[in-house]
Symmetry: C2
Subunit: 347 residues, 2 copies
DNA sequence: ATGAAAGCGCTAACAT
DNA sequence: ATGTTAGCGCTTTCAT
């Protein structure tokens, strides 16, 4: 197929090892003259090293895996783009996988990636238990989890990167409270995932701190039957809002589990004949690009996505490139509230 | 590292070639008894073939490249997800690259992918010329372009898959015309890419067919300076709509180059004190998930994305797996108009 | 029906 | 300072 290191060696009148030495930054032990000759040969022949051979020999590739619930979701799309950007600057490529939040798919992907020689993966999951990927971690897979805080029973040597969901949800809820809302709603998918649970905890904590009974809040958390999947956070928000707002004693302020869900709430409110920002206030979570585009512009809890993505990549890379395992750690990023027009005092 | 084929062979009391034969579907020439023994050994040892070794030997990998402008854009995110889904069913993986519509990045990625042993790529580009990737194609890279129709001077053996942009834009424009609009606007990024140009042509064709002078239309196509990039189609739509709608003799109906741009137009209209679906009608292109979620729901030209994605993958795979090159061809998909609430008769 | 052996392209001891 | 060489794990003729 392509030009091999032997042909370069012959062209330059040296041995393959000299070419290899140059290629691997060991040009110090080489006559400048020789070096120039080899470099010229490489250029003349348009030589490019065969990665498969390199990988077979060295056991590693400059590729990381990225497992997200679904890139069709703008939040994950944006995250993927940032990860890819960070990887690119370090000469790494990104293998993309959509898990649909299915543990079996997560595990299956990690195994496939491992077979591909990929030894580092950023796994975006919020599953409370990581037992399904434990065998891989034991074999040496370096894992950075994103969107999931450390849990008891996690394997050692793991890095977790997540926004502080409790604080974020508190900020959102306190904002509604400070506007004068007293009857609040919380709309989410099933609370089985740790980040949703944490956001819910933050929501309740804020209510308690304000002297309210959190059990009076209207909570819509899709039951075990996963009708909507992750893809359709918007569909879920829409159905939930429609039901809640047409029910008895509807809330005047709603905390949505994330921005896509909040956009669904917009639609559901419309279906129910209410207007967001007037009849009902809505706060989201994430601050996706669309949040500032919709009408009314969405008040939301911002995740510093670009920073988090490059932190995740950098951490993974350093663990990939340095032999030391380290104890692993958790990074909890503090989010901030971005106030826009979807939240107003109650009528 | 892992278990090798030699260990399996020893465990089963056979030679490596027998194991390899089994692995490669040549189990017919084998005593059922032997076969069972090998299979048991594989299972017992948890053997998984080393892909790098396989690739080095065979020269191919079950990986395709996917180059999109940016997965942060929901349209491309959705497309990427569909491609990955199609690939998965055939045991292929997808290496994701964001080109930002930069020819240098496109070329750079293709070269990197080639070095990785990836010989098939779905390239989402609308660049009129493909000269920057020609060297790779000559070396044997199989290319399927998406979102770009065949152009004169294209290398042979190329498959192009695209929606019929001319027809799509015509449908959009005719719809506005049939509603009674006479003063129309067209909002787009620079018309340097073939799909934008085609949509613009369709827009003009519909105007001409209706007996209108297309030069009377208000056309906003961002000049050479790329202030917004592809990422920010929405920002562009917003700025354009704001300017156009506050200018003299504003249009009553607007065709936006795509849905993200249309959502920007919504915001720009709002900035200008107009309401979409009442004061001004807007048609988009793509039918992303959000189109049905926003207020008013967006009338748009639907691209059958899932079908197009699997067609693109299937075509690439068949060219990858069969030695014949074939003449290459273009697939022009006919889009359909989805009428929603953003378009109404002019006031 | 099964095995032996060469070699894919590269790297790193280990020579010289 | 540079060259020789032995594999990394797999597949595939070519033997047996």
């Amino acid at each position: 197929m392509g030009v091999t290191i032997y042909e370069v060696a012959r062209e330059a009148g040296v041995s393959p090892s000299t070419v290899s030495n140059l290629l691997n930054g060991r040009s110090g032990r080489m006559l400048p003259e020789t070096r120039a000759r080899v470099e010229a040969a490489i250029r003349r022949l348009g030589y490019r090293p065969n990665r498969a051979a390199r990988q077979l020999r060295n056991g590693r590739v400059q590729v990381i895996g990225l497992v997200v619930p679904s890139v069709a979701n703008p939040f994950w799309g944006a995250f993927a783009r940032h990860v890819e950007g960070a990887a690119l600057t370090q000469g790494y490529h990104v293998l993309l996988c959509n898990s649909e939040r299915d543990p079996d798919r997560e595990r299956g992907y990690l195994e496939e990636l491992w077979d591909d020689g990929v030894t580092g993966v950023i796994l975006c999951t919020s599953l409370p238990s990581l037992t399904h990927v434990l065998p891989l971690v034991k074999r040496g897979l370096k894992l950075v989890t994103f969107d999931r805080t450390a849990q008891a029973g996690d394997p050692a040597g793991l890095t977790n990167i997540s926004v502080d969901n409790v604080v974020g949800a508190q900020l959102a809820t306190e904002h509604l409270l400070s506007l004068g809302h007293r009857r609040l709603g919380f709309i989410s998918g099933a609370l089985g995932s740790v980040n949703r649970k944490e956001r819910y905890d933050g929501f309740r904590a804020a209510l308690v701190a304000a002297g309210l009974d959190p059990d009076d809040a209207v909570v819509w958390s899709e039951a075990y039957e996963d009708t909507f999947g992750d893809l359709d956070a918007a569909g879920l928000g829409r159905a939930a809002a429609r039901e809640i707002l047409t029910g008895a004693n509807p809330p005047t302020g709603i905390v949505a589990i994330n921005d896509m869900c909040a956009l669904g709430v917009y639609a559901g409110a419309r279906d129910a004949g209410r207007r967001v920002g007037t009849d009902v206030s809505v706060v989201g979570f994430d601050d996706i690009v669309l949040a500032d585009l919709v009408d009314p512009a969405l008040t939301t809890v911002r995740q510093p996505l670009a920073d988090m993505a490059s932190t995740a990549f950098d951490n993974l890379r350093s663990r990939l490139e340095s032999p030391a395992t380290g104890p692993g750690h958790s990074l909890l990023i503090r989010p901030e509230l971005v106030t826009r027009s979807s939240t107003t005092p109650p009528v």
